[in-house]
């Protein structure tokens, strides 16, 4: 099994290094094919591992020692248990699809090879993140995916907005990483090790306050990576990257790393209900907050990005109320349908010459039948309609929230489910149906390459059927995660399902009805609520105005006024004082004999007086 583990882990790295060799050469199809093949190999290994661990075994290996100083021993150790195997399956599945898809999508890009190098490097980092058996290894992957995300968001670096967004994402993540690092320090100094198993064993003996600190700081790290409020602004801006990147990194895998962390550290989190409640509340807040912004946005990719944010909120609610396996399950199904949605959006963008404004599209269904079908499947899954994958996982989250007596959370999520259904179908309606507005703007849309559509097929299938594997999943995951028994009656259970389905269907129905009639009136766009939502609650503006700008100004002041005019000037002042005292006393050395004689006389006098007054012999 070790061989499979190392294959799964290192195949993407090999692919990445191979593609990197050609990074500054013109497009070479081999790089795309080689990396995709290696990812397929990685996927096969992951599946083998998944089947192997499904019955409760786990694979644990140690490659070598990494850092050893004082009492701190960090090995490169990897563990594949049920959680890891699930993550590996999700990551390799989506990334294999994305790789194949990208061969078509990046067809005309002159940096084709560089793209694949970074994409595979990302997969490697993500694998390190999920497979590592200690917090430091997790942190390697954590920063590694951050780096790849930076490089891929800024892939078209000649665009100012892209390189800006890349830096924003990296720096935001770094803020959170500091929290995570502090969490790691706390773990080390109090648990004496960074190995998961060693740490989790000791949870019961530790003070509550300490555990609170640890979980809170680790969660700050998770908030950055999973773009939770208030560190969420980078995710929408990250849409500057190529669409396959958005699908892989900013929807299916990297942003779920925060959720993974909470699931992984579940022994810690279940010991501190306060922090868990905070996690759940923040998750619910973000779910609604992001969904509300998605309602009015006009940018194809940003709408999907906000929906990702919103779904991440759902996952945190599940993790926060203790239903870790549900969080993981939703993470998985979400990865499939959200990647599908993004890649479908990529087809649309290609067809529309990278136009993103959904109000310039419409009626594309005729030209892009298959893309329409795929995106509709994904949207239905996202809305959580039976029998698609989204229904099973999302419904479980609502159920878990309700069953653990968090009725407010449940209500928030329930409303959000309606909003989700509405904005998903608003998007579908505006892009694929209705008036063919694109003709006004002179676009000539066309369907994507056939193989790109085929590449999406696995995701579409998974988005449809993944939910039916719920029982197998529970059976597997119960070896490692707690499966709580809900004490709700069958009546409540069915009522909840019906109510949820009703609001989702209602949202869809409302969207279809409204947008088949031409949408909302112009007046709506002038209202305060619309403006507030459209400007993302003015948060990016606030950050820019009250954090970035003052920081820049303060830096300038520190440099020009403090460093040069105070600190350095003091040093120069001391130097010039000494210099000036020399200038003043240089007249002594005038070279005039009579002057010198006078000084000699004075000196003689002083010496004589000294001899008289301080003479040892009187």
């Amino acid at each position: 099994m070790e061989t499979y583990l190392y294959t799964a882990l290192f195949a993407p790295l090999v692919g990445s290094l191979f593609a990197a060799l050609f990074a500054d050469k013109p497009k070479n199809l081999v790089t795309g094919i080689a990396t995709s093949t290696l990812l397929l190999v990685s996927w096969i290994s992951s599946v083998v591992l998944l089947l192997h661990v499904a019955h409760g075994e786990e694979v644990h290996v140690k490659l070598m020692d990494w850092i050893h100083a004082g009492g701190l021993v960090i090995p490169f150790g990897f563990v594949v248990d049920q959680v890891t195997a699930t993550m590996m399956f999700v990551v390799t599945t989506v990334s294999t699809v994305v790789h194949v898809y990208s061969i078509g999508y990046m067809d005309h890009d002159k940096s084709f090879n560089r793209f694949f190098a970074w994409l595979s490097a990302f997969v490697f980092s993500m694998m390190v993140l999920v497979m590592s058996d200690n917090f430091a290894g997790l942190f390697i992957g954590w920063e590694g995916v951050g780096l790849c995300s930076w490089a891929l968001i800024g892939f078209w670096y000649h665009k100012e907005s892209a390189s800006w967004a890349a830096n924003e994402a990296f720096i935001m993540n770094r803020i959170a990483d500091l929290g995570m690092l502090i969490g790691i320090f706390l773990v080390y100094w109090n648990f004496g090790s960074l190995q998961y198993d060693v740490v989790f064993e000791q949870v019961a003996d530790k003070e509550h306050g300490l555990l609170m600190m640890v979980t809170a700081f680790l969660f700050i790290g998770a908030m950055g990576k999973s773009a939770q409020f208030p560190l969420h602004t980078w995710l929408a801006d990250a849409m500057e990257g190529p669409t396959p990147v958005s699908a892989l990194i900013h929807a299916a895998t990297m942003v779920t790393a925060g959720v993974y962390l909470v699931i992984r550290a579940n022994p810690l989190y279940s010991a501190v209900p306060e922090v868990s409640l905070f996690v759940a509340s923040l998750g619910a807040f973000v779910a609604m907050f992001a969904a509300s912004m998605a309602l009015v946005n006009r940018d194809l990719k940003r709408i999907i990005a906000y929906s990702t944010l919103s779904q991440l909120g759902y996952m945190f609610v599940a993790a926060g109320v203790g239903a870790y396996w549900v969080a993981l399950f939703h993470l998985m199904t979400h990865a499939f349908f959200k990647a599908l949605l993004f890649l479908g959006a990529g087809n649309v963008m290609h067809a529309m010459d990278d136009e993103l404004d959904i109000f310039k599209m419409g009626g594309l269904a005729k030209k892009m039948q298959w893309t329409m079908v795929l995106m509709t499947i994904a949207s239905v899954a996202l809305a959580g309609i039976y029998p698609l994958a989204g229904f099973f996982s999302k419904d479980k989250i609502l159920e878990a929230a309700f069953a653990s007596d968090h009725y407010i959370l449940w209500t928030v999520l329930w409303i959000t489910a309606g909003l989700t259904a509405f904005y998903s179908f608003r998007l579908v309606m505006l892009v694929f149906f209705g008036e063919e507005r694109y003709k006004i703007f002179g676009f000539h849309p066309h369907e994507a390459y056939r193989f790109m559509l085929w590449a999406l097929a696995p995701l579409a299938v998974l988005a449809v059927i993944a939910g039916f594997f719920e029982h197998n999943f529970v059976h597997m995951i119960e070896h490692i995660l707690p499966i709580e028994e809900h004490h709700i009656s069958a009546l409540t259970f069915w009522t909840l399902i019906v109510v949820t389905q009703a609001i989702a269907l209602g949202g869809i129905g409302f969207a279809v009805y409204k947008y088949s009639k031409g949408g909302f009136s112009k007046k709506w766009e002038e209202t305060f609520v619309y403006q507030l939502l459209f400007n993302q609650y003015y948060i990016p503006k606030i950050y820019d105005e009250y954090i970035c700008k003052p920081y820049g100004e303060l830096s300038k002041i520190f440099w020009k006024d403090l460093d040069l005019k105070v600190v350095d000037a003091t040093v120069d002042f001391i130097a010039t004082t000494i210099y000036k005292s020399g200038m003043v006393s240089r007249v002594v050395q005038s070279g005039n004999l009579s002057n010198m004689l006078r000084w000699m006389g004075v000196g003689l006098l002083i010496l004589l007086l000294a001899a008289i007054f301080y003479s040892p012999v009187r």
């Binding site: 005038s590 070279g591 009579s594 004689l597």
Partner: protein, 100 residues
């Protein structure tokens, strides 16, 4: 009776005269003379104290100083003549090549 004090007073007076000369005179030649007076004032002191203690070291030193003074005058006068030939003056305020 002429005692040691008288000699020392004479020495001090001569020294004072020499010192005033060194300070007040602007002519290099006279400066040199004043130096000679200073040296001789010291000589008198040495000789007197030597006699008083009956120790010949002082008189030896006086001779030594006489010799030094003589050579100094020889070298000094030579230099001064060269200087005078070049500059036509021996005023010490004009002898300033450093400008502090």
């Amino acid at each position: 009776m002429i005692t040691l004090s008288h000699y020392l007073i004479l020495s001090a007076i001569l020294f004072g005269i020499g010192l005033v000369g060194v300070y007040r005179r602007k002519n290099l030649l006279l400066l040199l003379f004043s130096t000679e007076i200073l040296l001789n004032a010291v000589n008198i002191g040495f000789a007197a104290i030597s006699k008083f203690y009956g120790d010949l070291t002082g008189q030896m030193f006086a001779f030594f100083i006489v010799a030094v003074a003589a050579s100094e005058v020889a070298v000094g006068l030579g230099l001064m003549i060269v200087w005078y030939k070049r500059r036509g003056t021996l005023d010490i305020d004009t002898m300033q090549s450093m400008h502090g």
